[in-house]
């Protein structure tokens, strides 16, 4: 099968021409600028996942919020469920980029980690 998939890893949005079959997976990817497209295309066809990025309130910090992300992408259809699971979570300053805020979010194997440094006030 031939499909065109827009790579969403970065804003360049390469329109990747993909040759693939259910049995053999991805055979060929063309029109991509970088290698990050291969993994994206494979995932999008067989197990679509997304990075979830949001923020969590912080107590005692110089920012009221700490921005967070799933350290690896989670299944696309679990995004809203994951947001529900995060509701009510609070973090405490100080926080460093990479600190785990919620381990193994929804059993996806992905940790919710901080993407901003927050110092105490």
């Amino acid at each position: 099968m031939n499909t065109t998939l827009i790579c969403i890893v970065c804003p360049v949005s390469c329109p990747c021409d993909v040759e693939w079959t259910q049995e053999d997976g991805v055979i060929k990817v063309e029109n991509n600028q970088c290698k990050l497209a291969f993994e994206y295309v494979e995932g999008e066809l067989f197990d679509p996942r997304r990075m979830l990025t949001t923020s969590v309130p912080v107590d005692g910090g110089n920012w009221p919020l700490v921005s967070v992300k799933t350290h690896v992408p989670i299944p696309k259809d679990q995004m809203l469920e994951a947001m529900k699971a995060i509701e009510g979570i609070r973090a405490e300053a100080p926080i460093k980029v990479g600190d785990v805020i919620v381990p193994d979010l929804l059993g996806t194997g992905s940790d919710l980690v901080a993407t901003r440094n927050v110092t105490t006030v």
Partner: protein, 416 residues
């Protein structure tokens, strides 16, 4: 602290462009580098862009905005760039005398070189002249991004977004994730303004409808927005009769474009390009005024922060060289945007080192090529499977090709 300071390089604006320029100016040998930022922190819009996708070109991975900003903030700090926060630059002269205002009062800075990296602000409701009442609940997309992602404030429950610029699309997803209903995105143009990737991950993923050739013709509500009237527009942007429909909402987000903040650029008397509104620069990012450089979104609106960073690093290095030696190679080769291109940057090149040209096309096109020509002969050709006005095109012209340039002229165009 004295009211008069002297610096090798002064960088105006501490967003991604200013951070990169300041860090590289210091590394290139400028002894005192000042980074002037009006906000209470550096990082600019990256601080509120909590989504990922930054850094694929520079770091080979997709980082979030705050992570990307933190890398460059660490870099300026490690290199002892002096950062002045909550500092407004109110004047810059041709002789590079900068006047700033802050809680320390008025101060002046005598700078060897000045880098203009003020970035953009958003177009507002006033700029697009929407009819109707003036209720609360009308926001620019970036303002909402700041409220939600930095200040922890919610803006509304039922939202219509006008304009399909990237920040609008990203906020459509963000609002949806936070539990708001996003009724639709309306775009006056027949094609989306934002990049293709955001159509997928922000709209399609969440089944948010996009109405093209559609705009808001009236805003309703007394104290708060109660709804908007949408209408379709024809090819000449005129409203199509009989297409008006009322859509209930409590919030209208505007994502209708960015305005490069070139007030200082213009005040100095720097020559600008009417198509970018930014300075006309050479391959060292020098403006028409000696010792003043420009880079980042104030020079040209970028879609990819990595490219703003790379451009600004070059500007920072050039600013340091000029401040310390007073010499940069003359840029005598004139570059012209030909058929199919809105603009190409830089406008002149020196021919001493490889150049990364940036440009935008007038319209969407497929299977064309970007062609560099000089004296009627081809200098370089790059196949373009796909191009659209929303996507900046970046093409490197290697040093080795410069020998094909004749009569100090180079044209860049779209061809077959």
């Amino acid at each position: 602290m004295s009211a008069h300071e002297v610096a090798d390089v002064a960088v105006i604006g501490g967003g991604p462009a200013g951070l990169a320029a300041a860090a590289e100016a210091k590394a290139a040998g400028a002894s005192r580098v000042l980074l002037l930022e009006r906000d209470d922190r550096v990082g600019g819009i990256l601080n509120q862009q909590v989504h990922d996708g930054f850094g694929t070109k520079v770091f080979g991975e997709a980082l979030t905005g705050p992570e990307y900003a933190a890398i460059y903030e660490d870099r300026v700090n490690d290199r002892d760039v002096e950062t002045w926060l909550k500092t407004h630059v109110i004047d810059v002269t041709k002789d590079r005398l900068i006047t700033v205002h802050s809680d320390k009062g008025l101060r002046t800075i005598e700078a060897g070189s000045v880098v203009l990296s003020m970035g953009c602000r958003e177009r507002t409701r006033g700029a697009i002249g929407t009819a109707g009442t003036r209720p609360s609940g009308v926001f620019t997309a970036g303002a909402v991004q700041n409220y939600m992602n930095v200040r922890n404030l919610a803006v509304g429950r039922k939202v219509v977004i006008l304009g399909s610029g990237d920040i609008g699309l990203i906020m459509a997803r963000r609002l949806k994730l936070e539990g708001a209903e996003v009724v639709c995105v309306a775009e006056i143009l027949p094609q989306p303004s934002g990049i293709a990737g955001n159509m997928v991950r922000c709209l399609e993923d969440f089944d948010i409808p996009l109405f093209l050739s559609t705009t808001v013709v009236e805003i309703h509500g007394k104290s708060r927005v109660t709804g908007v009237t949408l209408a379709e527009v024809g090819p000449k942007m005129g409203e199509k009769k009989g297409t008006r429909r009322f859509v209930e909402c409590d919030t209208l987000l505007l994502s209708v474009g960015l305005i490069p903040e070139n007030e200082l650029t213009n005040k100095i008397g720097i020559i600008t390009n009417p198509l970018t509104t930014g300075a006309i620069v050479d391959d060292s990012f020098r403006t028409s005024v000696p010792g003043i450089f420009s880079c980042g979104n104030v020079l040209q609106v970028h879609d990819v922060v990595d490219y703003a960073t790379l451009e600004s690093e070059k500007a920072g290095i050039a600013a340091a060289i000029w401040a310390t030696t007073g010499k940069l190679p003359d840029a005598d080769i004139k570059v012209t945007a030909g058929e199919g291109l809105r603009y190409v940057l830089p406008a002149t090149i020196s021919g001493t080192d490889s150049v990364d040209f940036t440009m935008r096309s007038w319209k969407e096109d497929h299977n064309r090529a970007i062609i560099f020509k000089s004296g009627g002969e081809e200098v370089r050709r790059l196949r373009m499977p796909h191009m659209e006005p929303a996507g900046m095109i970046r093409v490197r012209l290697g040093k080795g090709r410069f020998r094909r340039i004749v009569n100090n002229e180079l044209t860049v165009e779209v061809g077959d």
